[in-house]
Amino acid sequence: MLSAKNLECVRGDRRLFSNVNFEAPPGTFLQLTGPNGSGKTSLLRIICGLMQPESGEVLWNGANIRSLAEEYFSNLTYLGHRSAVKEELSSAENLRISSGLVGTELTRNEAYAALERMGLKGREELAARLLSEGQRRRSALARLLTCRTKLWVLDEVLTALDRAATGLISRVIEEHLKEGGIAVVATHQEINITAGSFQRLELAS
């Protein structure tokens, strides 16, 4: 279970948000909304442990994520809006390397299968810089198909995706929720999730 207690975030001399609380038991889809600059990305980065909150804490199964450190990271998949796709590498290489980095090694066939499901069949060995923005996004999202983590933190991952891909990602997230996973998603787009329990967290500007 992921929970947050009294999170406060200050950037420069501006307080982005304070007193943010939530509890997300397994099977929760937590949608994060709010206008631009309201601190969605900051909150997600705090949840990932990439940023320290000004006050408050993020808890994973009741323990502070700072003290869990690597143990927590082994449960976490974070996809930011910088997609972490290397332009010089092909989609298959990108996927295999990013999976290898978190300790889930993929065979070539597994990587190809995931990319095929993401609609990149035939482009597996094409350098990522030759892909369109949407295809690059799809190649980054292929990680969701191969990772075995419980907590997904997704930051505006639906931008540049067409309707078919958005639908596919919704289904992938639904499967994840059915298996007892948690998804924390910041998005402006409507996302249709029917499985699991739905929570919305609105950050005011």
Binding site: C48, G49, L50, M51, Q52, E70, E71, F73, S74, L76, Y78, G80, H81, R82, S83, A84, V85, K86, E87, E88, L89, E93, I97, S98, G100, L101, V102, G103
Partner: protein, 219 residues
């Protein structure tokens, strides 16, 4: 995981060969300019050789350090690396190892050849090679701290030089000292042991400091 980092960085370096070659050419050109500028005064060339080669190696390593984390920072890969289930220490060590293999090893291999221009004998060339072989990993390790600290800053390149070059001084003194000892026919062992000691220290502490620097830079 360590293996993935190293092989990934080597693959990326291979696909951006021009970057690697520019560091090597810089080293070759700078070292070669001195004999051309000074002329065929063997005695003088011999006595400045250790300092020239070592200073050129320091400056060449500055060139490649700016790229150590920058590309990964801008496309978001570095964030991913900080939240892997392995210690960030290993991530940094992997990246530094790859950087050393790509940017410094060619330079170490080239150095004995360049040393011939300074009329060094074969024993001295060998000492030069050894001193660079155990000295250049220190440059990469200490340099990674500067690269981590200046990440995302404008004018980071100059700042790295100001931060890191002073820290290179011990390596420069002992590294060049070893070659100097060889030129004068005494044993370079003492100097080399000291460089080795600095190497062990920086393997233990530098990646740890770099990891902390990266966390701060990515906040």
């Amino acid at each position: 995981m360590f293996r993935w980092i190293v092989s990934r960085d080597l693959t990326l370096a291979w696909r951006r060969r021009a970057d690697v070659l520019s560091t090597l050419f810089f080293f070759v050109i700078v070292v070669s300019l001195f004999p051309l500028g000074i002329g065929p005064e063997m005695q003088l060339l011999r006595s400045i050789a250790p300092g020239v080669v070592w200073v050129a190696a320091l400056l060449a390593s500055m060139l490649s350090l700016g790229r150590l984390f920058a590309n990964d920072y801008y496309d978001g890969t570095l964030e991913q690396m900080l939240i892997t289930p392995q210690p960030v220490y290993l991530v940094v060590l992997g990246k530094v190892l790859a950087q050393w293999l790509v940017a410094e090893v060619p330079l170490v291999l080239m150095a004995p050849l360049l040393g011939v221009q300074f009329d060094l004998d074969s024993r001295t060339l060998f000492v030069l090679f050894i001193s660079l072989l155990i000295g250049t990993p220190i440059l990469s390790l200490i340099g990674s701290i500067g690269a981590g600290l200046t990440l995302g800053l404008r004018g980071g390149g100059v700042l790295i030089a100001l931060l890191i070059l002073p820290l290179y001084i011990p390596v420069l003194i002992f590294g060049a000292g070893a070659v100097d000892a060889a030129i004068h026919g005494t044993s370079p062992a003492a100097h080399l042991y000291l460089v080795g000691a600095v190497l062990v220290m920086s393997i233990v502490f530098a990646p740890w400091a770099t990891a902390a620097a990266l966390r701060i830079s990515l906040e």
